[in-house]
Symmetry: C2
Subunit: 304 residues, 2 copies
C-alpha cells in the first residue's frame, strides 16, 4: 500500500504519528502492522476494547499464556488501538475533526507497514429516521448538513469539497451479512453533522432557535431524501478514505427514532445490546473474508 | 443561572445529559453542582484527571479519609468529569463537534444546578505561530479557517454564523496571571480548524495537495492577522458560551512553532511539562478569585 495522496511522505526522514503515540523511528511498523487487513473503528475506547476482545473470541485467536491485549496508543491519551491478528480496533472520538486525525495517522501507519488492501469499517451509533431503534444501518451514501454528498474541509483559507462516496461493493457485502443475524439491517444514506444538538435539529440543547414544526419539516425532508440515520462522521470517513485510496464502510445501530423524539431513553443495558449489533455484523464479514482468503491460499475448504 | 438560550428546557419533564451520564431524574443536580464556579476543560481525560488532582492540592481541598476523586461521567464512556469543591474538571475530546456536545450538556447541567455565574476555561495544547514552543497563549479572539471571527454551524440545512467573541475581561484577568509564573504568556488571536493536517496547512498528513510555499504563505498571513496559535476548539467555545450567556476563556500552550515545521518533536516528558503551564496559570486565577470572594464574604483578608 503506497500513498499516492501525499508524495511528501516519501521524502520525510521519519514520521511521528503523534496522536497514536507511534512513529517510524522507534517502531518496526511493517513487522507490527504488515498483516492488518481490517481496521474497525468506533467512537469510544470502551467499545473498541470490547470489540477487540469479542473479535478475538470470534476468530479463535489465542495469545500466549501470560499475555494480554495491550492498548498500543495509550501513551497518546487520545485514541485506543488494539490488534488481534489481521484486525485493528481503534477509537476515533466524536465528530469529523477527531475522526480525521485518527484516519490520517492510521492510513499513514497502514502505508508505512505495507498492509495489503486494508478496509476501514466504522461500527457506530446514530439517530434513526423512521426506523425502530436497534435497527442497523449500512451506509450506501453520506450527506453533509446541507444534504450534499460531500465532505467540506477548509484548507489554506479556502473551502475544499471532496466527494463523500461510500464504497458500494463493500456496502453490499456488509448489508448481505445482516441476513445471518436476528436483528434488522437496512441500507440507506447517512447524514453527517458537526453538532449533536442544533445540528441534528434537536430542541433540547443549551441553545435552540427553531421550533418543533421546523425540526419535523427538516427531518421529513431527510426521510424523503432517503436518509436512514444521522451521525457525526460519515462524510469524512467516506471522503478521506476515498482520497487516500482505501476502501471503507459505515455500520451504525440507531438508538432513537428522531421522527418520534430527541432524547435517548433506553437503559444502559439496552444500549449495550444495541451497540453489539454492528460488532456482530462486522465480525461475520471479517470471518467470511478470512475464509475466502484461506480457501484461495489452501485451495481447499476451511473447517470454520 | 437560567438559560434564556433555550426556552424549551423549562417545559421538559426531565433531561438526560446522555454523553455525561447524568440526568435530572436520578440525580440531585443542585445539591451536586450548585456550588460550581469554575469549569476547566481540556482535550484528554488524563490531563483533566491530572488537573483535578493538581487543583485539589492547590486549593488545599481535603476529602474524608477513605474517599477518592470519582469520574462522574465514566458511565457515558465519552468525557471524564471530576469535581473539586467549586471546580469542575471535564474533558472535551478533539475538535468542535466533540467540544460542542460537552458544552451543551455542561451548560445545561450548570443551569439545572443553579450555579451562579460560572466561568468555563479551556486549558489546551496548540501549534504556535512565530512563538517559541512552551509559550502560553491566552486567546483574545477566535478566527475560523476562513479567518472570520465566527463559528459556523449547519442547522436545519442552513449555515448559521455566530460571533466567536472571547470575553475580554476574563482574557485580561487570565493574561495578568502569567506574571506570576516563570514561563512566557502572551495574548493574541487563536485560529480554530476542523482538521489537524490539511486544515492547519500541514504537509505530512495522509493527503496533501498544496506545496510548502503555499503553506508558508498561509502561515505568514495568519501571523500578519495577529494569530498566535492554531487549535481545534476556540470558535465554538467562544460562540456557544456567548450564545448561552456563560463567560469563557481559552488558555493554550504551544507545542510546535509552525513557522519552523509541522511535526511535534518534543519528548513525552517535555510535552507533559508544557501541558502543565496552562494548568498552573488557571490555578492561580482560581485561587485569586476565591480569595476575592472570601474577602467579600468575611469582610477581612485571607491567610493564603
Amino acid at each position: 500500500m503506497v500513498l499516492k495522496s501525499n508524495p511528501n511522505l516519501a521524502n520525510m526522514e521519519g514520521d511521528n504519528l503523534y496522536h497514536l503515540a507511534l512513529d517510524t523511528s522507534n517502531y518496526d511498523l511493517p513487522e507490527m502492522f504488515g498483516d492488518v487487513r481490517f481496521v474497525c473503528i468506533g467512537g469510544t475506547s470502551s467499545r473498541m476494547e470490547n470489540f477487540a476482545r469479542y473479535i478475538m473470541k470470534e476468530l479463535d485467536y489465542k495469545l500466549p499464556t501470560g499475555a494480554t491485549l495491550q492498548d498500543l496508543s495509550t501513551a497518546g491519551h487520545r485514541f485506543c488501538m488494539y490488534k488481534v491478528g489481521p484486525v485493528l480496533s481503534v477509537s476515533h472520538g466524536m465528530g469529523v475533526p477527531s475522526l480525521s486525525i485518527m484516519l490520517h495517522e492510521v492510513i499513514k501507519l497502514l502505508s508505512y507497514a505495507g498492509a495489503r488492501d486494508p478496509v476501514i469499517i466504522r461500527i457506530g451509533t446514530s439517530g434513526g429516521i423512521g426506523i425502530a431503534p436497534g435497527t442497523v444501518v449500512v451506509s450506501n451514501g453520506a450527506l453533509n448538513g446541507l444534504l450534499r454528498p460531500e465532505h467540506n474541509n477548509i484548507i489554506l483559507g479556502k473551502v475544499v469539497a471532496r466527494p463523500a462516496t461510500m464504497d458500494q461493493s463493500l456496502a453490499s457485502a456488509l448489508l448481505e451479512m445482516g441476513k445471518h443475524h436476528d436483528f434488522t439491517t437496512v441500507t440507506g444514506k447517512t447524514m453527517c453533522t458537526d453538532d449533536f444538538y442544533e445540528g441534528q435539529g434537536r430542541l433540547d440543547g443549551a441553545i435552540c432557535e427553531h421550533t418543533e414544526e421546523e425540526k419535523m419539516d427538516f427531518l421529513m425532508r431527510l426521510n424523503e431524501a432517503g436518509v436512514k440515520n444521522i451521525e457525526m462522521e460519515a462524510t469524512a470517513l467516506a471522503a478521506i478514505t476515498k482520497a487516500a485510496g482505501v476502501r471503507s464502510g459505515n455500520v451504525c445501530v440507531t438508538i432513537v427514532n428522531r421522527l418520534k423524539g430527541d432524547q435517548v431513553t433506553f437503559t444502559k443495558e439496552e444500549l449495550t445490546q444495541f451497540a453489539l449489533r454492528p460488532q456482530k455484523l462486522v465480525a461475520t464479514y471479517i470471518k467470511r473474508e478470512l475464509e475466502k482468503k484461506s480457501v484461495m491460499t489452501n485451495g481447499k475448504g476451511v473447517s470454520r
